[in-house]
């Protein structure tokens, strides 16, 4: 049913536009508030994360410092271990007192007398050749920083014995039995001579190279 309506069309349209403008403004305001809140929240979150990152960076720096210190200590320990190994090597080998029993076992009933007996442990620094074959007891020396070559400490233990024997045969048996002992690497007779006296005893000088790996 048709009814009167005296609201002018342009006024109604104006109100309609005004209403839409208000809604738009309201939507904009809400969007701005939401954006602002999101920005603030992100900023807050970023600040928290940045603080955490800074903390982690600090922790990492400390860790790196500790790691470096640890590596240094490890290096030092290795150095000490090497030195200990060197010292062990130098202190190692067949003990001198054991040599008495070795020599006593080789001597048996042979008519041999000792006039002078010297036990010596000596070493020499030699270069380790990767391709070469080295004999003897080597202690590898820790490579020095910047040193291009690897060096080792060749340890040699020997006894120098001077004495007399009833005859050459007795000396020979003694030397042979000594050489058979596992603690002995080599036996070298350096000199023999007959005494000018009546009994004609044989005077001798010999060197016994001790096996440094044995008895350890």
């Amino acid at each position: 049913m048709a009814e009167f309506d005296l609201i002018p069309g342009d006024y109604r349209r104006g109100l309609h536009h005004l209403r839409w403008l208000r809604r738009f403004a309201l939507a904009l305001a809400i969007a701005a508030i939401l954006s602002g809140s999101a920005f603030a929240a992100l900023r807050l979150g970023t600040r928290a994360v940045s603080a955490e990152i800074d903390e982690l960076r600090g922790t990492r720096a400390v860790n790196e410092q500790l790691g470096a210190r640890l590596a240094e200590l490890r290096k030092q320990r290795e150095s000490y271990a090497s030195q200990l190994s060197l010292l062990d090597g130098l202190r190692g080998g067949t003990p001198a007192e054991r040599m008495f029993s070795v020599v006593d076992r080789a001597l048996g009933e042979e008519p041999v007398w000792f006039a002078r007996w010297r036990f010596e442990r000596a070493g020499a620094s030699v270069e380790v050749s990767p391709d070469g074959v080295n004999t003897g007891y080597f202690i590898v020396i820790p490579k020095a920083d910047g040193s291009p070559e690897q060096r080792a400490w060749q340890v040699e233990t020997h006894m120098s014995i001077s004495g007399r024997a009833l005859d050459h045969a007795a000396l020979s048996r003694f030397a042979a039995r000594l050489f058979e002992q596992p603690e002995i690497d080599d036996v070298r007779v350096l000199r023999t001579s007959l005494q000018a006296q009546r009994q004609k005893r044989v005077e001798f000088d010999l060197v016994v190279v001790v096996n440094n790996g044995a008895g350890r």
Binding site: M1, A2, E3, F4, D5, L6, I7, P8, Y11, L15
Partner: protein
């Protein structure tokens, strides 16, 4: 009440299916607001109503959105009004309602034809006015059509709409008082046999005769007759001042004592003081005679427009409708049933909607305005 079968009290627990806009009318002394709702079972009930007296002169109030807002706050307080959308009518002084005959070939020509007619009748360019019309006679007779045309100054309309908007109201429709009365009367009538009804809306200076045929508004005519003229007549006859005459009427003739400061309770004068009432009615009878002449002319016009169907009843609305005996006096002077318009809210029994407020015939316009949405929805 059989006539109000479509209006009934809300049943507790009935679901509300639709709520109409608020019918708002700036009456002479009070601001009337009525809001209706339709229940799920199709019945209409009153949701809320308020009639609040103006704290100051109406003209002053209508220049101040802030004061109107405060008055509305008073009206809304404690009442279950829903929303702030209103259907309202321009105050009677701001609008002219004319019956316009024009020649038009079809409906599309009607706008232009009415515009031509109005251009010749109005003193200012048409752009300065807001014009709307309703066809009364759509069928051609001698190539002429007839419409009821409402004209209001554009500035007055926009000022009124802005007043309401700035008072935080949203205007859904702006119409005219007679259309609201027509809607109310149509709704009260038996739709199978549409009545021809004349509604007389008494004002202080002028009176409006609104002729309704079924759901059609046939005519709305302004007559230079009002309460003030009758009060002047009483004052002249009794040789008292106009103010004393008004006091006399308020104390002895009105159906309810509404004069501010009027005595109440056991000391108040008896309202059924028939001698005083009869005397006063005898005094105003010659004045009523001039109105009766206009009524008879209107009824003849209506009969011509409705092919001889006579008006069956006359309803009284407005200030003089509150005068006891005016209906009886008019009934004696014209041969048609004259009665005050039934209280449109009497059928509503929703206690939450404003129980305890005095029902007034003046609320008819606001109720008719509130009905607009209900008929559109229903």
């Amino acid at each position: 009440m059989k006539r109000f079968a479509w209006l009934s009290g809300s049943t507790p627990g009935s679901r509300v299916a639709a709520i109409g806009s608020i019918g708002l009318e700036f009456a002479r002394e009070k601001l009337h607001l009525v809001q209706l709702q339709r229940l799920a079972d199709g019945r209409l009930t009153l949701r809320a109503r308020a009639s609040v007296p103006y704290p100051e002169d109406r003209t002053e109030l209508m220049t101040s959105p802030a004061r109107l807002k405060a008055l509305l706050a008073r009206a809304f307080k404690g009442r279950p009004f829903h929303g702030r959308e209103v259907t309202t009518a321009l105050p009677a002084g701001d609008i002219r309602i004319l019956s316009v005959s024009y020649a038009a070939g079809d409906d599309r020509d009607a706008d232009a034809a009415i515009a031509r007619v109005m251009e010749s009748r109005l003193p200012e360019p048409l752009a300065n006015y807001v014009i709307d019309y309703l066809p009364v006679r759509a069928t051609q007779r001698d190539g002429e059509r007839l419409s009821v045309v409402a004209v209001a100054g554009r500035e007055a309309v926009v000022d009124y709409l802005e007043l309401l908007r700035r008072a935080a109201l949203s205007v859904r429709s702006l119409e005219i008082g007679p259309a609201a009365i027509k809607r109310l009367v149509s709704a009260m009538s038996d739709l199978r046999e549409p009545d021809n009804v004349l509604v007389i809306n008494f004002g202080e200076e002028v009176t409006y005769l609104t002729m309704i045929s079924g759901r059609r508004l046939l005519l709305d005519q302004e007559v230079a007759f009002g309460e003030r003229r009758l009060l002047a007549q009483i004052a002249d006859t009794l040789e008292v001042s106009a103010e004393e005459a008004r006091t006399l009427v308020y104390d002895h003739v009105l159906r309810e004592p509404s004069r501010p400061g009027a005595p109440q309770g056991p000391d108040a004068p008896a309202l059924n003081d028939n001698d005083v009432t009869d005397t006063l009615l005898e005094i105003i009878r010659p004045g009523l005679a001039s109105l009766v002449e206009e009524i008879k002319r209107t009824l003849m016009y209506a009969a011509a427009e409705t092919h001889g169907q006579a008006a069956r009843r006359v309803y009284l609305v407005g200030s003089l409708a509150r005068w006891r005996g005016v209906d009886r006096a008019l009934n004696d002077m014209i041969d048609i049933e004259v009665a005050n318009i039934p209280d449109p809210l009497v059928a509503f029994t929703n206690p939450a909607a404003g129980a305890g407020e005095t029902a007034e015939p003046e609320i008819a316009v606001a109720t008719g305005l509130a009905l607009r949405d209900m008929f559109e929805h229903g």
